[in-house]
Amino acid sequence: MSQLHFSEAIPLSLYIHLPWCLKKCPYCDFNSHAQKEEGLPEERYVDALLKDLELSVPLVWGRTVSSIFIGGGTPSLFSAESIATLLSGIRSLIKLSPNAEITLEANPGTFESEKFAGFAAAGINRLSIGVQSLDDQQLQQLGRVHDAQQALTAYETARSAGFTNINLDMMYALPKQTQAEAEQDLEQLIALQPEHISYYQLTLEPNTLFHKYPPVLPEHELSAQMSDTGQELLASAGYHQYEVSAYALNDKQCRHNNNYWEFGDYLGIGAGAHGKLTQPALQQITRTTKPRQPEQYMQFMEAGNLETPQVVPEQDLAFEFFLNGLRLNDGVTTSLFEQRTGLGLESVAEILGKLRDRGLLNDDPSQIQTSETGRRFIDEMTPEFLNT
């Protein structure tokens, strides 16, 4: 029997997956599907999402949702009306915290930016725009459907629509990119002064076009250099790095993502969405997965199915916790580990000791935080928690 002990309430978020894109980008390994000619089955999909949530409600009875993240795919392909229907449907089914962060991922195309005001009216209060680069040639190589000018316009449009919390995504170590190009790209982005920047390295993921036909990417030395200067540029512009790829002005950290990284709970609805829920009474943590194919997902929901949550084996919990926890610059407290995994600290004391001895973790006994070196080698650390 499980020996997990959960003494405190665990925050809950809601993730919603809208799986369609105009077309699939060659580097993307998310569950996304190119939009068909006949358009999107918006109404049917929103109904399925609400049905999904309705069936999930008993799993989180009485709990308050503190953030919502609508990701994709390209959620901004949906009309503002559909998003409004979705959000009001959600409010009628579960308790939403009054100051909940509600993010929507958007593509910086003209077609999408016209809807920004509508999204704001529907209740979206944070916009995450996939700029990726401000270099037209790079955008083309990345298979993006927008250009730099459209991205700048989209940002302005979002501002005039009233958004005061905007994230911009940018990638570095792009095909054949030079150090100077990377810096210039980032400087232009910083000049826009978004509240939040996700600055991350382009990597070739399995099951992507880039993996099959790899472009020439900057070598290890150069990409490491780009990462270093990127951090410096962002820091000097007042962006505080709080996770490997996440930078925020002031207190504008992404609360939804922080909840993932701190091993909070989340409901996942939509095609291929993943959820994670703690069940204190049963002394267990479970994961849920929805069918990946949109059509299959809608039929699954229309039939009123609810998948059986999978219990996370006790020996996997520490790994899952640190997989994300170590990515946070401030790290996690030892009490957060106990609170979120239900395990005692002694279960990982030996591994933590070893990592401290190798100089990868700081010495503070109550805070599990990577050292300067450790921050560069997180993937050397997390496997230590695997039980294989």
Binding site: L202, V244, I378, P383
Partner: protein, 602 residues
Amino acid sequence: MSSEIPLERIRNFSIIAHIDHGKSTLSDRLIQRCGGLSQREMSEQVLDSMDIERERGITIKAQSVSLNYTAEDGQEYLLNFIDTPGHVDFSYEVSRSLSACEGALLIVDASQGVEAQSVANCYTALDQDLEVIPVLNKIDLPAADPDRVVSEIEEVIGIEAHGALFVSAKTGEGIDELLEQIVEKVPPPKPPEDDVLRALIIDSWFDNYLGVVSLVRVMSGELKPRQKLLAMATGRNHLVDKVGIFTPKAKDTQRLGAGEVGYLIAGMKDIDAARVGDTFTSADHPAEEPLPGFQEVQAKVFAGLFPTNSEQYPDFRDALEKLRLNDASLNYEPETSEALGFGFRCGFLGMLHMEIIQERLEREYNLDLITTAPTVVYEVENNKGEVLNIHNPAQLPESNHIAEIREPIIQANILMPQTVVGDVIKLCIEKRGVQKKMTYLGNQVQLVYEIPMSEVVMDFFDRLKSVSRGYASFDYSFLRFSAAPLVKLDILINGDKVDALAVIIHKEASQRRGRELTEKMREIIPRQMFEVAIQAAIGSHIIARSSVKALRKNVTAKCYGGDITRKRKLLEKQKAGKKRMKQIGRVEIPQEAFLAVLKVEK
């Protein structure tokens, strides 16, 4: 029943064929034609029973089948077909199989022509006065060129081949004629001069239920249950339990008479009790002399085998014990390496034998093994005049204690088309070969070289294949030990000598080799969190160096969303990969580094 057939209607024969020339298919066809197995029982390639044999198309262990065949003369004949292994590593086993026969079929692929392996085995057969029947197989292939191949057989091997049979084991064409020729041309066994029991051990293997089973050819006298046997090489006695023949199913016969081939079970518990080539005689009325040709098996190639996970050591030991039950030519002794931990130094007949054992250990016994570069046996004379046999570079004495090192030299016979002779000669020279003979035989050229065996175990097979685009074939035999200026080349990783990477090489090649090896190590060793220095040294003298730059970071770029399963799988794979690596000091070294010593490309 076999014993009802008189001596003059028994035919004992083997097949000599190069790998892929269709021996197994032909054997199947013969068994099928004589009704040895029903269609339902006829699984492809009956005689090659081990998985690896099937996959590689090589017969490793000899087996036999006894077939009853009614010839055109209306008489019933007993055909004993003795299968032989088809690779240079097993030439002794081949010679024993052949000495149990009066005839041999020389099977040659009608499109590919004669290969060196077949030439060597064919000479062994001719030396033993066997009747050799040339047979061209795969005659149905569009590329078949029987006229060319016939003259090649005559030119290269020097036997009359104009009456050669054209068959296709695949379609069955020519099989009837072949059976008739076996009856007509292969002589019956010679009548024995006395009735003293002399039975030649062709092969022995271990059966979990029966113990050791031996395949024997009775040369004189007879074998019967409850008979007391003497194995002449070991001097051990055994009581016969069962005798019989393979049809190919085992069938008890109560008796094996002179001229017959069959199996013998005599309560033997280990395979050394019935060594290949030894003679069984009667313990009560023993023969004065054993049958000629027995040799102790001697390992020629040695390598250290180490479990990647030290917990597997006991399993590894058990697996070797089990394999040894069936393979008297495998020998092993415990070895401890600073780099690789506990393992065994194993001796093999040759490179193929080594690969087969390695594969069986990994596949059948689920072991993860690191194999060090194979080495030959060196004779080392120290200053006191003592001669040591060194089969592990780590055991080579300090150079100031060595008076002389002698290395084994082999004679290589290489057959190839004229077009590639130049490249093959270049390779032989690079391998320190000395040309002894070069003969033009039609389109083929035969080269005879004396080459140090250490150069052959290095990468000679692969290189020969590539420089000749697969057209050269190769056979070798041991000649002598010969003095040479040899040194031990050490590899140091971050200052630590890695014993498992040491090699014994020719002094003149040491500089180049040192550079190649350090360069190769640099490519193989992944970047780590710190810089890794790689050095090559002779004694305390560093002759080459390189380094692996430190990794600057190792962090997943983006780890959003709730799906951690894929990330987890990736890290699990990474961790499993690291587990397979060996830790030298703080440095993680992949297994392939230990074999790189072998595979330094030019």
